[in-house]
Each structure stands twice: as C-alpha cells, then as structure tokens.
Symmetry: C2
Subunit: 138 residues, 2 copies
C-alpha cells in the first residue's frame, strides 16, 4: 500500500503522514525500488489512533507519549488518566475564555447599525480608549 491509500484508510493527509514520520510518531516504512513509501496494513491502526487523538485535540507530544506507553503494557495507566483530565481542563479554560469573548462581542454589536458613518460608529467608539463604554466593561 502506497501513501495515498494509507491516507484514505487512516484519515490522515499525505503530508501529515510524512510529517508524523519525520516527528517520530510512526517509524519509517520500507520503500519500493523507486523510493516510494510502502505500508503494511498494520500501520493503519497506528495512524488511525493518531488521527483519533488529534480529533480530541491532543498534541503530537501527548500522542507520542501515549504511543510510547502502549509499548509498555504492564505500566499503570495513571498517566493516561491524568493526561485526559489535564486536557479536559485546558478545553474548559478555553471554553470559558471564548464565552467571555462571545459575551463582549454580543454587547458590542448593537452599538452600531449599518446606516451610520465611521465617525458615528458606536462600535469603533467602544473600542477606543477614551470611550466610557469600554470593551471590558459590562
């Protein structure tokens, strides 16, 4: 199986596969005489695993860590649990930040309408430092 079929089967783009190889997440595969990468079907699993982890927004270094753990079957899996917990915390912090942003933008939006000109624009006014309707205010 060459790289394009691997790409389709694993869900990773061709460039991503080459990138993962370069970063050491997968081992360099055999090559054809013409220097094309040649994969066996067992590689699909590893790449799909990576793809699943990426779907959860785990970083490549976290994924690398998970892959290393998989080669130590009798290790306690606390690390995995902690990683997921930490990641959940990161996501929750990001969510809270975005929600604040959303709220700021929603408050900003009705300050203007399309009938005005720039010098009367309530949005620009609110973004200006001398305004008493600041972005961070309620």
């Amino acid at each position: 199986m060459k790289i394009s079929e691997m790409s389709k089967r694993s869900g990773c783009s061709i460039q991503a596969i080459r990138y993962y190889e370069k970063e050491g997440l997968i081992t360099a595969p055999a090559r054809t005489e013409g220097n094309f990468r040649l994969y066996g079907s067992e590689e699909i699993e590893r790449l799909s695993f990576i793809n699943n982890c990426r779907a959860l927004d785990l970083s490549l270094s976290e994924i690398k860590h998970l892959l290393e753990l998989q080669s130590l079957p009798s290790t306690p899996c606390e690390t995995v649990n902690v990683m997921i917990d930490d990641h959940l915390n990161v996501i929750e912090t990001r969510l809270a930040d975005l929600q604040k942003l959303q709220s700021s933008l929603r408050k900003l939006r009705p300050r203007c309408n399309s009938k005005r000109s720039i010098d009367q624009c309530g949005i620009l006014e609110a973004l200006s430092p001398n305004s008493n309707h600041s972005v961070s205010d309620g």
Copy 2:
C-alpha cells in the same frame, strides 16, 4: 516617551509594539539621537485601540482594516458591523467545536481509572481504531 513607558500605558508588550510598527499598524515614530523610539501621547490611543481589538481576538489584518476606516470618517460603517458579525460567527463555531470536544472527552474519561494497567486501559482502547467504542460515537 520611550517604548517601555508606551508599553505600560497602552498595555502592549514592547516586542508587540515593534511588531505592529513592522506590520504597518502604527507609523514609525521619531527617534532620539541614540536611535531610541520616541512617542507622543497621541500614539497611546492607537495602541490601546489595537490592544482592545486584540482582546476581542480580532486579527491584525482586521484591525488594520479598522484603522484604515477610521481615517475615512464619512464612509458608511457597514464594514465594521459585518466584521463584528463575522467574528461572532467564527467565535460561535469555535465554541461549538470545543463543546463537542469537551463532550467527547467527558465520555471518554470514565472508561478507565488509575488502578488499571496500559493493556487494560479503556481510554486507549476507545482511541484505537478496532474498538467498538470509538471517539466519535456517542
């Protein structure tokens, strides 16, 4: 006023100020004999404006656009309104994506506990392609 005071007054880091200059968001200021940047107090306003926009996560190119509009006071401000609306949409999409992620991670988390070993880890199993408890499933 030299750059460090400007930094304190505007809320932008020194490097960020130099970067904004390089990117054309602010004009290059006068220099002292010793080649230090010298700002007047009117520059605070522009940098604070940029800082306020960044707090809303507007991109530098969007901010540049807003700054250009400010020099055309009689232009209709529809562009500003559209930009804020578009930005709200972007934020809302990101929020929805993150919420899906959060939900996936929350479902994944209870599949394992710290007493297990890697080969019994329900989290790793769920991340593996042959699993019937896939990441994207409910």
